[in-house]
């Protein structure tokens, strides 16, 4: 038999790991539970020819493989999330044996129980804000007419106009970032937790508009509709940005303990640096 490892999806409270049924994982095999104390890890046995360390380094660079694996990982976590609270595990975490998983559970049980308690009966919602096209000053027209002019005065006028446009563009972006911060602050007040992800690159989103906010919020199950209403209200108030809501997600962005708050600050700085 091919050497295999144990791929981990999530950690749950003991009771909620029942009912995995015919759920299939990243390697196409059944998922199963490894219990230790009050916790259960949901795992799949995977062949090391595809999921061993060397193979993973190679396969993670293969976009098609990465996509199908990410979707399969998410499918299992999504199905588990319906059964009860869980701590999602980052993609591509593989143990060599059940014993390794069990001792990891035992070592970290207090941390996992704390996270399970925090995310219980809550879901993650994603909110992204893009620069609205109309709030980005258009510079194409000026750029097109300038070369036609031979006069030095016209050239100077062009440069002046161009500088004015760049300043306007900079101010517009600064305003959008300020709006994004306000939106984030307001949404955070309606959530049990908030995390900022770095803005996504335009080549990945297929959206040329500048992304000024990429955030995740942990929202009580029963307040999901209210949260969406707040997003709608903010979208109406801040016409300079376009808001996009995704969710509900399993609590991926809230799987780590509270101490990672510094990450948010850093993400915000990245947004500010890229944006202005």
């Amino acid at each position: 038999m091919e050497p295999h490892g144990v791929w981990i999806y999530a950690i749950t409270g003991r009771a909620s790991a029942a009912g995995l049924g015919e759920l299939r994982g990243v390697g196409g095999g059944p998922v199963r539970a490894i219990a230790a104390g009050e916790l259960t890890a949901v795992v799949e046995d995977v062949g090391l020819a595809e999921f061993g360390e060397q193979a993973l380094r190679r396969n993670l660079e293969d976009l098609a493989w990465l996509e199908s694996t990410a979707r399969a990982h998410h499918r299992v976590i999504g199905a588990l999330a319906r059964l009860g609270p869980l701590v999602p595990i980052r993609l591509a975490t593989v143990y060599s044996s059940d014993g390794g998983v069990a001792s990891m559970l035992a070592d970290r049980d207090a941390d996992f129980l704390a996270v399970l308690s925090r995310i219980r009966r809550r879901q993650e919602w994603g909110v992204k804000a893009y620069a609205s096209p109309r709030s980005e000053p258009d510079d194409a027209s000026a750029g097109a007419e300038a070369p036609a002019s031979q006069e030095s005065r016209a050239g100077a006028a062009y440069l002046q106009r161009r500088r004015g446009q760049l300043t306007a563009q900079k101010n517009a972006r600064r305003q959008m970032l300020a709006d994004a911060e306000t939106i984030h602050a307001e949404l955070s007040e309606h959530a049990a937790g908030a995390r900022l992800h770095p803005p996504q690159a335009p080549e990945l989103t297929g959206n040329k508009a500048l992304m000024v906010l990429n955030a995740a919020y942990l929202v009580d199950d029963e307040h999901g509709t209210d949260f969406a209403s707040v997003v709608t209200a903010l979208a109406e108030r801040y016409q300079g940005v376009k808001l996009e809501l995704t969710g509900p997600w399993p609590p991926y962005s809230f799987a780590a303990d509270e101490e990672s708050e510094g990450v948010s600050e850093r993400a915000l700085r990245i947004g500010a640096r890229d944006g202005v």
Binding site: L60, R71, H73, T93, P198, T205, G224, V231, A256
Partner: protein, 96 residues
């Protein structure tokens, strides 16, 4: 029980971006799944499965934080998530 998860994309199907200027329409959080999991934007998913989730010390783990080892196509992808992946987004006591 058998076809329950196979046919139902579960949580995945409910994650659907749905917003435009000035208006937001919510992806049906409590409705039955009707949208295939494939509808989720890959970039949103990677933000979560690569940068979210707990990092635990697997014995055969390839940490995504190990960005230097992963080149070419993935490099573009991880640009949007590497800041988080390489940060302290893990539980206390984690041994990356």
């Amino acid at each position: 029980m058998s076809a329950r998860y196979e046919s139902g994309p579960a949580m995945a199907s409910e994650v659907e971006p749905a917003v435009v200027h000035g208006t937001v329409s919510q992806g049906r959080p409590h409705a039955e799944p009707t949208v295939p999991a494939e509808r989720i934007a890959l970039v949103d998913l990677l933000d979560r499965v690569l940068a979210g989730g707990v990092v635990v010390a697997g014995e055969v783990t390839l940490s995504i934080a190990d960005v230097d080892m992963v080149t070419v196509s993935l490099r573009a992808l991880v640009t949007s998530v590497s800041a988080l992946a390489g940060s302290g987004a893990e539980l206390p006591g984690a041994r990356p």
